[in-house]
Symmetry: C2
DNA sequence: ATAATACGATTACGGTCGTAATCTAAAGGA
DNA sequence: TCCTTTAGATTACGACCGTAATCGTATTAT
């Protein structure tokens, strides 16, 4: 897994567009984001450039078309961000996190049971 | 629940010290953090002041003693931060988050079963 | 061919963050 | 009482972030 650079919240929004469809050109990225957010096209371009210099995305110039693609994978990004978050918030332990979510009613017994079934089903295939 | 201001990562470290023991004076906070981190005392003071102006902590001046205490509660902070995180990373849905954690082997069937027992036990008391 | 346009590259600018040093006022020791 | 030490208040400063505008160059329309 490629090293994951620091990606800000706004940059992450751009990454999500690129992860969803790629290769993708600048106008498509800009369209997607000027709809979803209040950003001006130039703002999106800035974010895209920052992602380029960070090495989070790359591009291929085919003729006069710039086509962008992700260099880091979403699953990897989500993994490191999740672990960092859990480390900061809960000292790295899953249990307190889950307990907190249960206390806040963000996680229910039904969720748990559903997840349980999912795991068992997944393991069966192995 | 009091509105939770934006608290940076470094400031959060300071909050954790104050949540653990309070009221607490500046030297104690500084001691705790210069051990745990590489920060100079002045750095800790800066963070503490920023937390004061943000309204995340308060103090009482008793004679020449400044005693700090949290204005926001840790459980509330953790709750909003967790929800924000899950929203950003997983669109707000619990299930994808849990699935991701299972995929990364950060969450096991044993964890789930343990949590299940915990919930059932808790509900029994109600 | 010249003018308008479109798009990538460069530059901008105030705010927050991490990381502190300096300034100042009070308290205690000589 | 005057000096030293201590600790809170003020100031610093470069990096990154959110939010863009301007500059240059290449393409397109007239």
């Amino acid at each position: 897994m490629k090293q994951i650079p620091a990606i800000s919240e706004a940059e992450h929004q751009v990454m999500k567009v690129i992860w969803k469809k790629n290769p993708i050109n600048a106008s498509e990225i800009i369209n997607a984001l000027t709809e979803k957010t209040e950003w001006k096209p130039k703002t999106v371009k800035t974010l895209l450039n920052r992602l380029l210099t960070k090495g989070a995305v790359g591009y291929e110039k085919t003729g006069r078309e710039y086509n962008y693609y992700p260099v880091i994978e979403e699953a990897d990004f989500v993994k490191v961000e999740s672990r960092n978050f859990i480390k900061r918030m809960f000292g790295g332990a899953m249990k307190p996190m889950l307990v907190s979510m249960v206390e806040n009613k963000d996680l229910t017994l039904d969720d748990i049971d559903e997840l349980r079934k999912y795991i068992i089903e997944k393991d069966k295939g192995k």
